[in-house]
């Protein structure tokens, strides 16, 4: 009996959060469409998310590309000796379709999701959000909307950069370590690259960017109880957006490529 009530309690809390999150997302979206717009805030968030995430995303991408080339070469060697075309193909397809968006998404979730939750959470517990409202500024418009828009727009840009850097990483390993011919590797990569692979990756990226900003803002906005509460909000933002990214990734893949 006690066990059942425990499960019931967990389910109810979960549903409560889900409802609150849905309302939060709906309110935010409706504010995205109604003026006033704070373009200055949007721009500064875009710099924050796009520009300052470049090093993290770039490093992640280059090593992933390198490992991918190495692994697929040694892996394929078991079936057919050193197929150059296969390596180039695997690197391009898996980076643009999967690894680019997912890895960039997860890295940005750690970097940006956490900082959004911490910043908005601190503003909540130090009454800055109340101060905003009394100064005739809607906190959704001023704090949440710029972050959502910046996430939505900048993640695809980051992922595009990650795709390019990742393919370059694969190129480095293939040419300098595995001794492939540089020109034919580039040719192969180019031949195998399909616009739809890249586009589907960018659409995923947009969705991930939205989810990261949404979870960061949501957890920050409802944080309470001082430094400890802000800490919990930060953790929740990163964990929940990471899980949502992986879940969404499957759903979007299923939609695009599932038969």
């Amino acid at each position: 009996m006690h066990f059942l009530s425990l499960i019931g309690g967990v389910v109810l809390t979960f549903l409560g959060h889900l409802g609150r999150l849905t309302i939060f997302a709906g309110t935010s979206l409706s504010h995205c469409l109604r003026p006033p717009f704070y373009w200055r805030r949007v721009a500064s968030q875009m710099v924050d998310i796009g520009y300052f995430s470049l090093p993290v995303v770039g490093l992640t991408a280059i090593f992933s590309g390198m490992v991918l080339a190495l692994q697929s070469y040694t892996g394929f060697a078991r079936f057919s000796a050193g197929s150059e075309t296969a390596v180039a193909n695997v690197v391009v397809v898996s980076l643009t379709r999967e690894l680019g968006p997912v890895l960039a998404g997860l890295m940005v979730a750690g970097r940006i999701g956490a900082s959004m939750a911490a910043e908005i959470g601190t503003m909540r517990v130090t009454e800055q959000i109340d101060a905003l409202t009394t100064l005739s500024t809607n906190p959704f418009k001023y704090l949440v909307v710029p972050r959502l828009i910046a996430g939505l727009l900048m993640l695809p840009v980051l992922v595009l950069v990650a795709d390019i850097i990742g393919v370059f990483g694969g190129f480095l390993v293939s040419v300098y370590k595995l001794g492939f011919n540089a020109a034919s590797y580039i040719n192969n990569s180019y031949d195998f690259m399909q616009a739809f692979d890249v586009i589907s990756g960018l659409i995923k990226a947009s969705a991930f960017g939205f989810v990261i900003a949404l979870m960061g803002c949501y957890n920050g906005y409802y944080s309470k109880g001082g430094a400890q509460g802000v800490g919990a909000a930060t953790t929740n933002a990163v964990v929940s957006s990471s899980i949502l990214i992986l879940t969404l990734n499957y759903i979007i893949t299923e939609l695009f490529f599932g038969t």
Binding site: E127, D130, A131, L132, T133, T134, L135, S136
Partner: protein
Amino acid sequence: MTAKISLTDVRKSFGPKKVLDGITLDIAPKESVVVIGGSGTGKSVLLKCVLGILLADFGAIKVDGEEVAQVPASDRDAVNRKFGMLFQGSALFDSLPVWENVAFGLLQREHLSRAEAKDRAVATLAKVGLGSDVAMLSPAELSGGMQKRVGLARAIAGEPEIVFFDEPTTGLDPIMADVINDLIVACVRKQGITALSITHDMHSARKIADRICMLYQGKLIWVGPSSEVENSGNPYVDQFVHGAAEGPIKMQVHR
């Protein structure tokens, strides 16, 4: 004449804890009212209920005759424009420099250009005794008392009709505290704002108040002109005014 702010039987609880238990108070236009009362009696909660940051559980709150008790702050734009608020913890925006904090309302409500808004901000900062060199600093670089004064400047910069001051002189030296008292008096007398202030400082209360109210156990147990606070005939008020540990108010301490 209708009251600028009118509270009728306002109640607010947090869980089982009754913080406000039937507050009734009318504040006339251009009047300065001070609320005194022990720490944790609900003075800040009272201000937040009027502002709509917290929603009262029960009762009516009217601003210029408009009922606002159940309207959250985010849904009452026109009413918000009448208010300036100094938060107890200052609540400065730490992502913005000091001048932009002070000019925030000017930029949002009056859509001044940034240059104009900055000039107004620097002028307002001068009123609270802060030089133009402070304007470019970030709030985190200021002392607690300076942050308080920036918060005060932010509250009055837009020349609102009503200003709430939550402990305006706490954390200031006695001389600066008196400068701030004079500033609040000047706002009320010259600009004709309606002020509702909270303070623990009886000197400050006597100076800025037309009327003083004492909040105790969720009720206003005494309301009267500030000149009568010395001999109110109310033992609770007497104890508070004279800061005596012995009296009808029992602090929850164990020795």
